[in-house]
């Protein structure tokens, strides 16, 4: 929780959703140099910087923070939009399959079993990469509306933003899990 703090302000940014990732990274690096204890900064300030960065880096959390600053709440309750809900089954089972293969590989006692798990892993890696692209596309569709949200303002878009937050929260979690599973399958 921000505790009333304006995370955009921490980076000298306006309260606009449409933030360029590269820009944010550069400002983060610069602020790090300024407030890290090594440069004589206070530990609390550094910790706030970390929270602010994590918040703004995630589109879901950025959107929620933007609403909070306007005194509104991004509703956690409500349905998850169809394009995301439809993917739930497929992505869950893909992640589960990756987990199973990783376990088989880890527990293997013979070269044969290990190599079968490796070969399964390679097949999976292809599917994992596809799923990652899909998830990125879906996230991108929501994030591309941020400019529009900025123009219309938080009060007007509160409901739609709530829906976006729910969708993006799932998508971000999947992106993370798929990335880890993909990395694991890639380094056997």
């Amino acid at each position: 929780m921000a505790g009333g703090r304006d995370y955009f302000g921490v980076f000298g940014l306006e309260r606009r959703l449409d933030v360029d990732a590269g820009e944010l990274q550069q400002r983060y690096d610069q602020r790090c140099r300024e407030v890290h204890p090594d440069s004589g900064g206070a530990r609390e300030e550094f910790e706030v910087l970390q929270e602010a960065f994590a918040s703004l880096q995630s589109p879901a959390r950025r959107l929620r923070h933007w609403l909070e600053l306007a005194g509104l709440e991004g509703s956690g309750r409500g349905s998850v939009p169809a394009p995301v809900a439809d993917r739930f089954e497929e992505i869950s089972s893909l992640l589960q399959a990756a987990e199973t293969v990783a376990e088989r590989h880890g527990n293997a006692q013979s070269a044969l079993v290990r190599s079968m798990a490796e070969s399964d892993g390679m097949t999976l890696q292809g599917r994992l990469a596809e799923a990652r692209e899909e998830v990125e596309k879906l996230s991108g569709a929501w994030v591309s509306r941020f400019g529009e949200f900025d123009r219309r303002g938080p009060t007007e878009v509160a409901a739609e933003a709530g829906e976006a937050i729910r969708a993006l929260t799932f998508l971000e979690k999947w992106a993370d899990q798929l990335r880890m599973a993909w990395a694991r399958a890639g380094c056997w």
Binding site: Q25, D29, C32, R33, H36, P37, D38, S39, R43, F46, E47, Q50, A108, Q109, S110, A111, L112, V113, R114, S115, M116, E118, S119, D120, M122, T123, Q125, G126, D176, R179, M180, W182, A183, R184, G186, C187, W188
Partner: protein, 606 residues
């Protein structure tokens, strides 16, 4: 490289290594390692305790060891007596649960030994700089836990140094590596195999910011273990059941093992040769590089596993890396370089001086803290998850591993019963589900005001500082008032617990008193895994198997089935090994096929 300002009170950078240490300072914008009177920049991390005198480094090595020479003290820093195996010297428990080396002059702790080495390094710096030195940056393995880090800090303070920062060794190496590549953005793995510790870190370097993405390691894996492997080979070849590694003969054995190990990095075969103390006989045997690589298979497997975990933690594919930098004396070993190359999918970068690069990095960090470079920054992480034990004996993670430090996490505690006055909290570091499988950092008692159940509230803040060391603050949420620093009691070694553990181990041993039963059981497990796998593999790849190959597999499989039905341990073991070998080619082809499918090409194109 930024404007240089004269530094009033210099900060030295120290690599406190398991086998070698070094000290340096920034001079005219460059990290320079300082040499002693003999012109040596590397000081062996050994201390000799004589009657009324102490010697460090090469001077210590020139004395007769005779139960007076302490080496590799770093391996025992911050450890409890039940966590260490005896090496050259006998060990005993020190007050507070740590260990102490029993020398001819009495017991001495690893912190004391390290502080003596640090005192010598301080002396060298003052000798070269012709002025007093008070402040230092000291390196630690990235994977050092809380107690090991605190012990290092204490050693520095005992040597009269204000330890400004503990910097992780692979991070320091990355700093030295990346210093003259600041304009480029890069993702780099640092593979650091030193005398006693192994660390792998994945970093991103962007315009002067060095950010650690993930780190992993083993604080009890290093060159020393490879020395022991050489001795094991010698013992096996000469049929000496146990080579005495303690005492003067032990010391000469170790030195010869080190010489052979280093030689095998240059040549394929080397002769281990040592005459006995009384000159009566000579121990002589040839050691081959292949044999050494074979006997350290477990260690190599561990390194591989850790590298892969770090890649996963960082969510990174090996292809995304720009370099893998080899650090540490033992990274010179050919099989280690091959392993790093294999896991990270590229030729390892051996451009850095493996023994000096960490020290150079420590010096650069010292320079950063002294204000020499304003645009450089190290963002490091905590290597181990930090948490507390909860009801049910589980570990509740408060700060996950690879979180950027400094960082903090808070937890609210309340009284479970009316009038409960205190609650014991056990603080843990590690990745396992169960509290007892993790390493206990310590514990503390939280006090509650008298209140109905659930009404007393104490907020506890767990804070990891820039050194990765824990500080705990508690605050009575209901009563207001200031934060109280909570003193963590180091986990006492419960001797009876130790005895119980030993008992359990012994009973497991006795259960397998019959070696044959154990061999059979192990072979059976492997057979039970292999048989269905062979079925499946044949199903996937039957076409394209040569008749001869297929016949051998069928024959070997039949032998395994017969072995399972019988009770001859060795027969089953050999049959399983035969099947394993018979399916090797099959295994390789499965992987090739999958790779080809992935790349969308024919198998023969690979």
């Amino acid at each position: 490289m930024g404007t240089l300002r004269p530094v009033a009170d210099p900060v030295i950078g120290i690599d406190l290594g398991t086998t070698y240490s070094a000290v340096g300072i920034v001079e005219a914008g460059f990290p320079i390692l300082l040499a002693n009177e003999e012109g040596e920049r590397l000081v062996p991390s050994v201390v000799w305790f004589g009657p009324g005198e102490v010697k460090v480094g090469r001077a210590a090595l020139s004395e007769a060891p005779e139960g007076r020479l302490v080496r590799s003290a770093k391996r025992c820093m911050g450890l409890r007596v039940n966590e260490v195996a005896e090496g050259d010297l006998p060990l005993e428990e020190a007050s507070g649960g740590g260990v102490a080396f029993v020398t001819a002059e009495g017991a001495v702790t690893p912190v004391e030994v390290s502080s003596i080495i640090l005192t010598e390094l301080k002396r060298i710096a003052e000798f070269r700089l012709e002025r007093e030195v008070h402040r230092a940056v000291i390196t630690v393995p990235a994977y050092f836990n809380n107690a090991q880090r605190e012990a290092t800090k204490q050693a520095g303070e005992a040597a009269g140094l204000d330890v400004l920062r503990l910097v992780a060794e692979p991070t320091a190496a990355a700093l030295a590596y990346g210093m003259n590549k600041l304009g480029e953005r890069a993702r780099v793995a640092v593979f650091d195999l030193g005398g006693g510790t192994f660390d792998v870190s994945l970093l991103e370097m962007r315009e002067g910011v060095f950010e650690v993405l993930a780190t992993g390691g083993d604080t009890r894996l290093g060159g020393d273990d490879i020395d022991n492997a050489v001795l094991a080979l010698v013992a096996r070849a000469t049929r000496l059941e146990d080579l005495r590694v303690q005492g003067e003969e032990g010391d000469r054995l170790r030195r010869e093992a080190v010489r052979v190990k280093c030689a095998l990095s240059e040549v394929e075969r080397a002769t281990f040769r040592m005459s006995s103390a009384d000159g009566a006989g000579t121990l002589e045997t040839e050691v081959s590089r292949g044999a050494l690589e074979g006997i350290i298979a477990d260690e190599l497997g561990t390194m591989k596993r850790i590298c892969r975990e770090v890649l996963v933690d960082a969510g990174s594919d090996p292809e995304e890396l720009d370099a893998v930098v080899m650090v540490g004396g033992s990274s010179r070993i050919p099989v280690v370089r091959r392993l790093a190359g294999e896991v990270f999918g590229r030729e390892p970068d051996c451009s850095q001086h493996p023994d000096e690069v960490v020290a150079q990095g420590a010096v650069i960090q010292a320079g950063i803290l002294a204000g020499t470079w304003r645009d450089l920054l190290l963002l490091d992480v905590t290597p181990l998850s930090l948490g507390i034990e909860t009801l049910g004996g589980l570990m509740n993670v408060l700060i996950p591993r690879n979180t950027t430090i400094p960082c903090k996490a808070g937890e609210l505690f309340t009284n479970a019963r009316e009038g409960q006055e205190s609650m014991r909290v056990r603080v843990l570091q590690g990745e396992r589900e169960l509290a007892r499988d993790n390493w206990e950092l310590g514990n503390f008692d939280l006090s509650f005001r008298r209140a109905p159940r659930g009404k007393a509230r104490v907020g506890v803040q767990f804070s990891l500082d820039e050194n990765g060391i824990l500080e705990v603050l508690a605050r009575d949420v209901e009563g207001g008032g200031a934060d109280v620093i909570v003193k963590i009691e180091s986990a006492a070694v419960d001797v009876s617990e130790q005895a119980v553990e030993q008992m359990v181990e012994e009973s497991v041993e006795h259960a397998f008193e019959d070696m044959k039963a154990r061999v059979f059981a192990e072979a059976r497990l492997k057979a039970e895994e292999l048989l269905p796998a062979v079925e499946e593999a044949l199903g996937r790849l039957e076409a394209g198997l040569e008749a001869v190959e297929h016949e051998e597999i069928v024959a070997a499989r039949r032998e395994v089935e017969e072995g399972l039905a019988g009770d001859e341990a060795n027969a089953l073991k050999e049959a399983v090994e035969r099947l394993d070998r018979a399916t090797e080619a099959l295994a390789a082809r499965l992987v090739e096929d999958a790779l080809a499918a992935r790349m969308g090409v024919g198998r023969d194109d690979i």
